[in-house]
């Protein structure tokens, strides 16, 4: 059980303390400044006091534990203080005017969860807003068993928000898994089974060793039913996880290879600098972020959105420049182009390295792409990945639109299918090449933008995509967006399926070998443009 180690001590302290242990703030504060073991004592004392603490005391516990976690607590020669922008306050009395000397005590690995639990419990009791209390309850849900049951009873009594009250009662019930009252135990089992994750499974499966499992058929039935139900849900959430992970990997692959596919389809040119265009895109996004930090700090969180047009235009511009100066002169020699673009990639990487440095760029993580949400059981949707998936879907839609519905797209398709004929009917094929190269590069830049919340951004980042994105392009076949999409989805999902079975290295090896074998069977990929070979 996850918290067993930490909580054994805690429960022991709770049991030892008399229920009416009054809170001696000064003593707790002093103990918190007494090294790791002192901090453990302080936390335990605060937990023990909570069920009977006054609202004021509970508030103080919340403030004090928060100060320890946020490292605004100062331990010095004198009494402990809490530092704040408006001036230090005495830690025990919270009265201002205390001298702010000393250093923040370091929370050890063991004490950190203790203090976090204390803070959440105190906030649940005395938090001023329902939102805060709800947040605290969420934090406590996984640790409910470690707290005195009276705490939840008290919190439920005091709770004014009816929905929250229900939740508090629920969490309180779940905490009573080992209660002597069989009815409460059964309720706890049901309650725990309602959040069907692995931890719940571990918790309930452990009850099979309980004497009651052999003696009480009702208990046994409840445990078995709960285990069965959780296992079913877990299977579902595992499947969802695999699907989501595959989709997320596929969206990255698609973003990284869409531009490449268009350029390859049109000009038969493999652009080895594609990865570097991705890198440029990420760097431009960074520049936009810094510009917004300077110009409109209030809107900083939205830099990712604001950067979209800038990134596209700048990378497209770089792409057009590369096309005009190098690629078009090598039109008849695709393999030489491959080497020339390799040189371009070398040049770009080193220019960036010399001009900006080799460190990872520092991105602000806007709230909308930070963290994730547990949907069901263990299935978690992380926002940064979802952002990439949505971004890829939108890019796909726009690319499709550009290719199918705009004059440029029409020209690109015409030249892709029959360059000579397109030239004959008056399409300026060289101009189309240039625009398409720019478009493809712009897409690569957007990939860089979508990747900066997921991967590290540094001059080397582009090289990670080279082999993968080429494989997607050649697997998909020339000249069809659909091929690229399907190839990306296939590679992404297969990779994710194999990974847990044989490991990440083997997954990569197996997928690459599968693609190589597939190409032997269909040398021109999934969606070959069929036609005369000569």
């Amino acid at each position: 059980m996850r918290w067993r180690g930490v909580l054994a001590g805690l429960i022991a302290v709770v049991a030892a303390c008399s229920p009416a242990a009054a809170l001696d703030r000064a003593s707790v504060a002093a103990r918190a400044c007494g090294g790791a073991s002192g901090m453990t004592d302080a936390a335990n004392a605060m937990v023990a006091s909570l069920p009977d603490a006054s609202v004021e005391d509970a508030r103080w516990v919340a403030t004090f534990s928060n100060a320890a976690i946020e490292r605004t607590l100062r331990c010095g020669a004198g009494a402990p203080t809490i530092a704040a922008p408006e001036g230090a306050r005495d830690a025990a009395s919270l009265r201002p005017g205390a001298p702010a000397d000393g250093s923040p005590p370091l929370l050890s690995l063991k004490n950190r969860p203790l203090f976090e639990t204390v803070r959440a419990a105190a906030t649940l009791l005395a938090g001023p807003t329902a939102a805060e209390r709800a947040g605290a309850l969420t934090a406590l849900e996984r640790r409910a068993g470690s707290l005195p049951p009276e705490l939840f009873e008290r919190a439920a009594e005091a709770e004014t928000d009816p929905a929250l009250k229900e939740r508090v009662l629920g969490v309180g019930q779940a905490a009573l898994l080992n209660s002597p009252d069989m009815a409460k135990r059964l309720a706890a089992i049901q309650r725990i089974a309602a959040t069907p994750d692995r931890r719940a499974l571990t918790q309930i499966a452990a009850l099979k060793g309980d004497p009651a499992y052999g003696e009480d058929p009702a208990f046994r039935a409840a445990v078995d039913a709960a285990v069965g139900s959780i296992e079913r849900w877990l299977a579902v959430s595992n499947a969802l996880n695999v699907f989501y992970n595959g989709l997320s990997f596929a969206s990255i692959l698609f973003m990284a290879s869409a531009g490449l596919a268009i350029i390859f389809g049109l000009m038969g040119v493999i652009n080895l600098a594609q990865g570097e265009f991705i890198m440029i895109g990420a760097y431009v996004a960074y520049a936009v972020q810094e510009a917004m930090r300077a110009a409109a700090p209030g809107l900083l969180d939205w830099y990712l959105i604001a950067a979209i047009p800038v990134v596209f235009l700048v990378t497209a511009g770089v792409g057009i420049a590369v096309e005009a100066t190098i690629v078009r002169r090598l039109y008849t020699r695709p393999l030489m182009t491959l080497l020339a673009t390799w040189a371009v990639s070398l040049l770009i990487v080193n220019l960036v390295r010399v001009a900006i440095g080799t460190q990872n760029l520092q991105f602000v993580t806007p709230s909308y792409i930070s963290g994730g949400r547990l949907v069901t059981g263990d299935f978690i949707v992380t926002w940064n990945r979802l952002f990439a998936i949505v971004f890829a879907a939108v890019t796909l839609a726009l690319t499709w639109f550009v290719l199918k519905k705009t004059p440029l797209g029409l020209n690109i398709r015409a030249v892709t299918q029959n360059r000579a004929m397109a030239g004959c009917v008056g399409i300026a094929t060289r101009r189309v090449d240039m625009m398409a190269f720019g478009f493809g590069s712009g897409l690569a830049g957007l990939a860089g933008l979508a990747l900066c919340p997921i991967y590290s951004v540094n001059p080397q980042m582009g090289s990670n995509f080279i082999v993968d994105s080429f494989m997607v392009v050649v697997l998909g076949g020339v000249g069809t967006l659909a091929g690229t999409v399907i190839a990306a989805l296939g590679v992404g999902q297969i990779n994710v399926l194999i990974e847990p079975l044989y490991g990440a290295v083997a997954a990569k090896v197996i997928v690459l070998l599968m693609i190589i074998a597939f190409l032997q069977w269909r040398p021109e990929g999934l969606y070959a443009v069929k036609g005369r070979r000569k």
Partner: protein, 236 residues
């Protein structure tokens, strides 16, 4: 007398596009057969299938009433004596004219082969250019060089895909003369061409293809008179 090339129920598809649709056709030894028709009628595809470059979906192609060409490799087809000049002049540009023809002759280096190569070069009028790189030749010369490469092996079936495209009138006439000279009783010649005057000069019979099917078969004169042929291809 056996039939040189017998095509039966041939269908070729590229994706959803049906280039040849249930086509049947027989080409005899000793004849010059012109295959004409509008763009996309399936002329080049037909040659592709006979020479093994493209594969049929259904149907069969028999050479000399014994060899099933749809299941034979390009190289084996060529070695059996079915040779073809491509629509776009296809010569080995980085090699000399002589090397090109030598390769066409199958690499034999005996005296007879050398004589044959020299004679072929003479026939196509490239003897003086023998040591030049093929890539340096003019367009018309490339056309002849390719014909020389194909002819030097003395094929039993000779297929010429647009042999006079892009040639001057004078060059076209010389090509026509060449084709007539190549016509022997033991050889079938298939010509795909858009130049109707040229076709009229050389062809014994014409086959008009339209949308992958035979629209007409007979003499050029009758083809000119056929309303459907005029409609879809020749124009009024």
């Amino acid at each position: 007398m056996t039939v040189a090339v017998l095509v039966e129920g041939l269908t070729v598809e590229f994706g959803r596009f049906r280039a040849i649709d249930d086509l049947s056709l027989a080409i005899d030894y000793g004849e010059v057969r012109a295959v004409i028709g509008p763009n996309g009628a399936g002329k080049t595809t037909l040659l592709d299938v006979i020479s093994g470059v493209s594969r049929a979906r259904t149907g069969r192609v028999l050479f000399d009433e014994r060899l099933e060409l749809t299941r034979t490799s390009e190289a084996a087809i060529a070695r059996a004596g079915v040779r073809r000049k491509f629509q776009k002049p296809s010569v080995f540009e980085a090699l000399t004219v002589r090397d090109n023809v030598e390769i066409g002759a199958g690499g034999a280096r005996d005296a007879a082969a050398r004589d044959r190569i020299a004679a072929t070069l003479e026939t196509v009028g490239l003897a003086a250019e023998a040591d030049r790189l093929a890539g340096e030749l003019a367009h018309g010369q490339k056309q002849w060089l390719e014909i020389a490469m194909v002819v030097v092996s003395e094929p039993k079936v000779l297929m010429l895909d647009e042999p006079v495209a892009g040639l001057t009138d004078e060059e076209t006439e010389r090509t026509a003369a060449l084709v007539r000279r190549l016509r022997t009783p033991g050889r079938a010649i298939v010509v795909v061409e858009h130049d109707m005057d040229f076709v009229e000069t050389i062809a014994d019979r014409v086959t008009v293809l339209h949308e992958g099917r035979t629209l007409f078969e007979g003499s050029m004169a009758r083809a000119r008179a056929d309303a459907r042929v005029v409609d879809v291809y020749l124009g009024r």
